[in-house]
């Protein structure tokens, strides 16, 4: 079932996508499926485990389900400090 979601890109992912957010129509059931679907956009060849995802401003696991209207935040490997 097709959903319309907002995807936000950060740091390198934003640079690769050329936008910081966009509206996406997708059949992806989980965050990891969406990540794979959008590979050309965020341009990551990094293992999924090095990246993080948040849905509606909550950090979640990659197996988290995606629902229509969600805001999905895709984080490349972090480097605080």
């Amino acid at each position: 079932m097709s959903k319309t979601i907002e995807v936000r890109y950060f740091a390198l992912f934003r640079e690769n996508a050329g936008v910081d957010r966009e509206s996406v129509t997708s059949d992806a059931a989980t965050a990891s499926e969406l990540f794979a679907e959008l590979r050309d956009r965020h341009g990551s060849t990094e293992p999924l485990g090095h990246c993080k995802v948040a849905i509606n401003d909550e950090m979640v696991g990659w197996d988290a389900p995606i629902q229509d209207g969600d805001s999905i935040l895709l984080f490349p490997p972090v480097a605080g400090g």
Binding site: A11, E46, F75, P76, P77, G81
Partner: protein, 142 residues
């Protein structure tokens, strides 16, 4: 308490706020911008943060530290934006009755902050290139 700032961090002011008559120990940590990383000469560092979640995750880390170690106060401040060599990017301060828990809580907080907060840094090198730290393999054309 977790804070995100864009202006320079003021360690002395932050440290002072932790002074407590019941505290016998204070441990502090600061991450400074250094002029070299993995063989590259660094000119400056650009920090990008997603503030709403950095704050939320930072508060969670501090709560974990407080649950693990009996400390009186534990604060962390992270800066974002363009930082020059020698500037302070992150500050952690912990006050407690005894030194053991001050050191351990301080260490726990900075270790977790470095791997869990949605913060990214781009190194700008003296040779004109730049690169996202920890992200060598992220690039589509890597």
């Amino acid at each position: 308490m977790m804070k995100m700032v864009t202006d320079p961090i003021q360690p002395e002011e932050l440290r002072r706020a932790l002074i407590d008559p019941a505290a016998g120990a204070y441990a502090g940590f600061e991450g400074w911008i250094r002029n070299r990383n993995e063989g590259h000469e660094v000119l400056r560092l650009e920090y990008e943060a997603y503030e709403p979640l950095a704050l939320k995750e930072g508060e969670k880390i501090i709560a974990e530290a407080r649950a693990k170690y009996p400390v009186l106060h534990a604060h962390c401040v992270h800066r974002s934006g363009m930082l020059e060599i020698g500037e302070c990017a992150v500050w952690v301060g912990v006050a407690s009755a005894h030194r053991d828990e001050a050191f351990l809580a301080c260490r726990y907080i900075i270790d977790q902050v470095k791997v869990r907060l949605p913060i990214w840094k781009k190194e700008h090198y003296t040779d004109g290139h730049s690169g996202w730290v920890n992200c060598e393999r992220c690039a589509a054309h890597g």
